[in-house]
Every structure is written in C-alpha cells, then in structure tokens.
C-alpha cells in the first residue's frame, strides 16, 4: 500500500537509521514499514508477498531482530535502526551466504530471496548450529514457490559449516 500525497494523510514525523543512513520523514500513520521503505525511500529490495505476516518476503531487521515489514508500522520504527537487503549487501556481512545462494542456485525467481537471506543471516549470526532439519525448521516462516527449499537449505548449511569451521 503506497501513499503519495502527504496532505491527504494523517502523518507523523519519524527519524530512523536505515542501512546506516539517518532519515527523517513525515510518514502516514497507517503506513507499513515495508511500504515506507519501498515507496518512501526507494528500497525495493524487500518484497511484499501477502501483507498478512505469513510469507516472509518482507523480512527485514529492526533493532537487530528480523521482523515482518508488513506487520510493522513505519511509525513504530521511529528512533530505530533498520537494515534491509540493500544494507546487508553493502555491509558485506552476508557476502558468503549470497555467494552460496548463487552457486547452489538457491533461488529461481528471486522474489523470496531477500527475505530468505535476512532470516538465514539471523541464524548464522546466532550461536546455534542446527542440522538440516533444524535449518528447515528455522526457515519455515519464509515461503518460496520456486525452489522446493532443498537448495536453500544446502546453501545455508554450507555457509553454516564454513563459519563454524565444521567443514
């Protein structure tokens, strides 16, 4: 849901840090964070698949935790630190994971991929070392229609083992 003309909407001033940059905007009070990022800031890397919290395409990082951008209002992010796929890419934090996704062809249409990567990056950043079933379980909030998931699990498992020096 995009909102164009601020004068037609009740707005609220917010300031947040998005991918390391400070932004201050008047955002419509009813606008989702995902819509604000996509249409307000032009960060179209995060996607929208359902707008009701099921598919995970809108996953992004809010103050260090992965949240659904479609279930979060933009005004709730006032004062917060937001990281999207664009920020994750720029920081290089998930470069190994992204390379593994490409090499293993863990994406087809790529629409779920930014959300998958945000979720998988959270797993990698934790101190958990799940097995394949555990990875599947962890990724179960992210819908992918194309891959059938096995390649995604493979890619995450490869990076997990490398990072934990298991391989």
């Amino acid at each position: 849901m995009s909102l164009a003309d601020d004068s037609l909407e009740e707005t609220m001033a917010v300031t947040m840090t998005v991918n390391g940059e400070r932004v201050s905007r008047a955002v419509p009070v009813r606008q989702n964070l995902i819509d604000f990022l996509r249409t307000g800031l032009g960060l179209t890397g995060s996607h929208i698949g359902c707008e009701h919290g099921i598919c995970g395409a809108c996953s992004l990082r809010l103050d260090g935790a992965v949240v659904r951008g479609c279930l979060t209002l933009a005004v709730q992010a006032d004062g917060a630190e937001v990281v999207t796929i664009e920020g994750l890419t720029a920081s290089g934090e998930a470069a190994d994971l992204q390379a593994a996704f490409v090499e293993r062809n863990a994406l087809q249409c790529g629409y779920c991929t930014p959300g998958m990567l945000m979720t998988a990056a959270e797993l990698l950043a934790s101190d958990a070392t799940p097995d394949r079933d555990g990875i599947r379980e962890f990724m179960s909030g992210n819908f992918c229609r194309c891959t059938g998931y096995q390649a995604i699990v493979d890619a995450i498992e490869t990076v997990l083992r490398k990072r934990r020096r298991l391989a």
């Binding site: 849901m1 995009s2 909102l3 164009a4 003309d5 037609l8 909407e9 009813r30 606008q31 996509r38 249409t39 960060l43 179209t44 890397g45 995060s46 996607h47 929208i48 698949g49 359902c50 707008e51 009701h52 919290g53 099921i54 598919c55 395409a57 664009e86 994750l88 890419t89 992204q98 996704f101 490409v102 090499e103 062809n105 994406l107 087809q108 249409c109 790529g110 629409y111 779920c112 991929t113 930014p114 990567l117 990875i135 599947r136 379980e137 990724m139 179960s140 909030g141 992210n142 819908f143 992918c144 229609r145 194309c146 891959t147 059938g148 998931y149 096995q150 390649a151 995604i152 699990v153």
Partner: protein, 797 residues
Amino acid sequence: MTAEIKAKLTPLDRPNTYVGRTVSRQGARKAVAGAGQYTDDISLPRMLHAAFVRSPYAHARLTKLDVNAAKTAPGVALVMTGKELAERITAPWLGTLTCFPGMKAAPQYPMVIERACWQGEPVAIVVAQSRALAEDAAELVEIEWQELPAAADKETALDRTTPVIHPDLGDNLAFEKTIGSGDVDAAFKAADIVVEETFRFGRHTAVSLESRAILADYNKPAERLILYTSSQAPHMIQTIYARMLGIPDHNVRIVAPDVGGSFGMKIHSYGDEVATAAASMALGRPVKFIADRLESFVSDIHARENLIKARLAVSRAGDIEAIEIDVLSGAGAYSQYPRTSVFEANQVLTITGGPYRHKHYRAKATVVYMNKVPTSQYRAVGHPIGNSVGESLVDMAAAACGLDPLEIRRRNVMPDDGYPAVTAGGIKVKELSHQKCLAALERRMNYAALRAEQAILRKQGIYRGIGIAAFIKGTAPGPNGYYGIGGAPISLQDACTIRLDPGGGIICAVGVTEQGQGVNTVMGQIAATTLGVPLDQVRVISGDTDATPFGGGTYASRATAIGGEAVLKAAGELRAEILSIAGALLQAPAGSLDIVDGHIVDAGTDRRRISLKEIGRIGHFQLHELPNSVQPRLSVTHRFRLLDDLYILTNGVSGATVDVDTDTGFITLRKAWVVEDCGRIVNPLLADEQVRGGFVQGLGGALYEHCIYDDAAQLVNGTLADYLTPMAGEMPDIDVAHIHTPTSVSELGAKGVGESGTASAPAVVMNAVNDALRPLGARVTEQPMTPEVVLRALGKI
C-alpha cells in the same frame, strides 16, 4: 582426437562447450543483492494506483452502482465501471478453440456489467494517488446486489434445479469429449481382474510469491501503450491487448521485467489488468495495479478440480489390458481466454496410463461451468491428475496380482527399443526411456533395502509407505496441435535475433522469457557455445516486445526445447557469416577457420588470427577494409517450430517414502527420488532445480493446497494463513537423476523439464501413502490428502 571423430562432433560437443555445464545465473547475482526489478519496483512520473471493487457474491445481479462519492474522494483521479469499460473495448473475450469441437463458452467482459458470476469478479476500478486512497474510495462505491442462487458443485452443475450461469448456452456444460482405442468393453469383459476407484482432486491455485502486477503507461500524443507486467508471454499479451483496446499491435509494447514466479498463471488475460490499461488510456497517465494476496485468491486462475471414475483390467499374470476413465471437470464461471478452461480435462484424457503398453482405452471428459473463479493452465496441466489416477490403478492392479509395484511397471511400460509408438491415449511417442528410468530409480532408491526396512518398521507399528510412479509429460507443443489449429493468438514457434556489435559483444534477443528458471542463462550458453565465444561476451535479452523477435514466451516446458533450438540455428548462421567475413579479411577459405574463445583461429591448430572484436569494428566502422562484395549483416533471426509432432514427449519415474501416523492422519514426507529424461541438458544444476521446485509444487497440491468453497460458492480460505502451501520444514530432500535420450526433432536434442516434477509428485506420494495404508485395508483417493482425508480412509472419523 582423430579428424574423423572431430568432424562428427557438433559445436555443442566441443571441449570448451558450455552446453552440459553448470554455470551460475547473472539474474541470481542481482536478486541476492536485492537489486532485482519487478513490476512493482518501477515508478513512473505522474503514476497513479488502482484498486478494484469486486463482487462479494458468487452469483448476483447488480441493482445499484453509484460511484459519485468515490469519484470525489480525496486523491481520486478516475472511477470506471464495468459498463463504461465495455464501451472502451472492441469485443469481449470468447474462450473457445476450434480444436475443441462442440465447446460452448459465454462472452466475457473485463468487469461485471450487470451480473457477477463469481466471488471476486471485478466490478469497478478506482484510480487514485495511492493504493491506500484508491482503497478508501472503493469503500465509498455504493453498490446493491440481488443475490442469485449459485452453481457451486460440479456434480450437480448439469441438474435441472441448478441455475444456468449463462442462459444463452442452455446449460452449464462447457465441453464433452471421448477418446479411445481398441475394444474396451470386450477387454473388461474378458479380464481376469478389474480394479476400480473414484478419485477426487481439489481446486488449487498458483500462489506465485509475486502476485499479478501491471503498470500501464499510455502516451496520448504518441498513441502508444506500454505495459510493464509480470507476464510469461509478452507477445501474446501484446496481441490480445491491441485487439481488445483497438490499438495497432505495433503501438503496444509489453515489457516483462523480473517476474516473481508465474507457473502458467501469468499466461492468461485478466479483466482487472485490461481495466488498468484502459484507465491509463482514459487518463493519459501511468496506472499501476498490484493484486494483493486476498484478491489474488479470487482472481488468479484456479486449476485441478476433477472427479474421476476409473477402472483397469489386468491379467492374473500382471499384464495391463485396458483402462477406462470418466472425468468430471469443474471449470469456473467463464472459459479463460485464450487457452480455455477445458484443456486440463483434455490432458487427463490423453495422458492417463500413458507409460504403458495396453491396447484398449476409453476416456470421457465432461467439463462444467460453476460460479467460481475461472480455471485454466497451471504448471503441468492435467498431468498431476492423469498420472495420479493411472498410477493408483497400476498399484491396485499390482496388489491384486500379488506383484511388487516396481515389477508390474517393469512388465508393462513401453519398451525403450519399441519406438516410435502410439499410446492407447493416441499420443505419438518416440525416444522415451521408461525401462532405463525404472532401473535407475531402483538403484538410486536402493529399493530392496527400503522394502526390508519397511517390513521391520511395520512390526514396530510404524506405517512407512514406499511409492513408485511412472509418468509421461507433453512438453514444447507444436503448431499442429491445439493452439495452432485451434485458432488462438499464441505463437507455437519461437525466435532468436542474434547480432555482433562493434565492441565484439553478442546480443541474443529471444522470444522465450525468464521467470527464474534460468532461461536467459541457458540461451546464453547455447549461443556462446555455437559461436565459440566466452559466456560473458553474450548478453541475452528477453521479455520486451520492442527488443525481441516475436515469440510465444515461456509455457509448457518449451523455452529450452523450442527457444534454445532457435538460438542454436541463429548463432550457427551468424557464425558462418563471421567466418566468411574473416575469410575475406584474411584471404583464407572460411572453411579453414574456426571461432574459439572469441577469436578467429586456424581450424585444427587453433592459432589465433583476429578477434571477434576486430570483426565487429571492421564490420560496423572500417568497412573500407572489406571487399565491396561483402556487405555485413551481422544480425540473424531464426525461428524454430515442431513440424509434425504435437509435443516433445518426455518421461520419467519417481519414488517417495512417507510415514503415516494412523492416529492423527499426518503424513511425513521422508525422501523423494526423480529419474527423468529431458534429452540433452544444457545446464545440469538448473535442470535439477526445475525438477525439485516442480516436485514440491506438486506435493503442495497433493497434500495441502485447496481452494475450499462453501455451498454458496464462497471461497472460505482465501488467505495465505488458511490456504496451506509447502514450507521448508515439511519438505523432503529430493534425489534427481537423468537419463539422456535426445529428441531427434532438433539439433539441440533438448526436451522440456520444467513441469516434470509437478506432473509426477502427486501420483508418487499418493502411492506411497496407500502403500503405508494397504496392510490396514485403507485407501486414500482424494487430494489434497489432508489428515482428515487419511483418517476418513482409515474409518476413524
């Protein structure tokens, strides 16, 4: 390598070939960085946003439609009703094809004019500065309905007491067809054993993660319409929109940017998308419409709703003699344009029992209209149903004869050395490999060990099931088949325009399209190999009618088989021209030269003579270096189509293991195997992932996915929370292997692969579940096989 062997090798077999090699996708590198560009990511100056008022009823007469309040709502630029839109189009759609004689269909307008025929049918478009404001205004449309009784059940759709949806058609019958061969009645009469069953398949839908999306940009002074849209078939959409909106084809440009999944669902024409284009034309401004998930469930095509009575005759020794099926297929309120809503039933008729040698077959289909979302082509059209029915019958026959499921298939499949042949369903088949696939599957599954383990587990009260299912799949259709002779504006051939640019780069523009399968990469691999250039010297362009030669797009597993051959032929001609220009420059016979790694070389020794970049420079800029007799074209268009064949048939066999919890009815998928034969494989990893992804999509329909309608034809589970899809936690690992029997219809030898997993997964998992339940005397005959279905089969509820 001797000269003789070398001469026999085609460029595809060269040592540095990209064909047969896994290379990664450029599109993937973009997508992982969040740098993809899907339709909704595009914003244009002065862009407006559309929302729709949709019918809340399955069947209702519009008694009042007042849009005045909506028109004056904040930020609103336009409200257009179905009636107003009808005045802007040349003619409604009629979803029939002449290849389906006797088929009836009602004309379909893009939006409701006076009567809604399904819940979700668009009624009015509201265009405003934002989607939110458009939705606000849509709430203000004053609308009154007189609800009418609905046809909600296919089994009563033809009853006298059921309302006729389109009175001009006389009844709700869309189409009837019977095919057959041999003497079915005699075969059943004489049979040792007859097994029979009734199977039910629930409706489901594609749920591409990116929903349908369109951004229409009409430039009034230029009379030019540009549609950015998430489509599989840009040229088809161009033809259809041009016709419907009364604009010459060449003034309509379709751009399909990155497409977030499509699976057949994005190959149809949708009224809300036409309304969006018409709104842009009315306003002279860009208008964007992105279907939200809730409206996707009630407006994207549905598929698979079928009820099938089936029987099979088998000798005591286990020879399949005859199969008969009676199909009742539940379509929606209209026949979807232009592919119709009867194709799925038609495919079930032709492919059921397709792997086997029996001579007697009869199959009847009845397709009826209901007040539900229109149905049409969705990944593997008809095959999941036909394969499930056929393979269930074969397992029942095996049990009746006391044969192992693998053994009965070995006994009855068409032999690998018996082609060409014709199936009992009337399909001409050649170059199939059922026997090789069965043998490979047995090895890969370690079948005997699985059976031994199963026996031990049974003693422990664990109901492990092992399923086997053979399949055939029609891929890459030809023009002598349905759409071509049926009169549809659908291209069955495909095209490539390939050129050498001054910098030495190769631009390869193709009519087939990319939705993440890797079509662009595969086309690039074929072009690079045929020409003899490094892959990164080739750029593939697809999905833009201004930039690509006219083609059919990507559907029916055709991109590599049809589009790839066009690339091969075009690149081959360009190569010949480049060699002749080089010959003129180097004063050497073209035949003594070759192209290797982007350089003209002496054939045989590979000594470098001149680079392709030099040919590009001379061929475009320094033409004085060439003799006057040489006029470079440096651009070649080639097209390819099947000649006599209806399809390029493929085949394969799947295996699966499941555990069934007989207390809860829960099915746990343990592992799956697919061995399939798609001929020559261009990119092994991409082919494997097509099989895996497709297989899981098939599992979704087999186990979870169901568009559930109540008696009033209301969809009761139209959210992603209520409509269950496969998620990572429940899905198994899938072992994929290939047998390579190239097709002889092309030099490339590739057959389709994109739908094979979907075509076979429901059959094999159903067989695995029933293998688990067999000792309990229970049988599941309904998909999706929910816990409730399992418990009902067990007589527990």
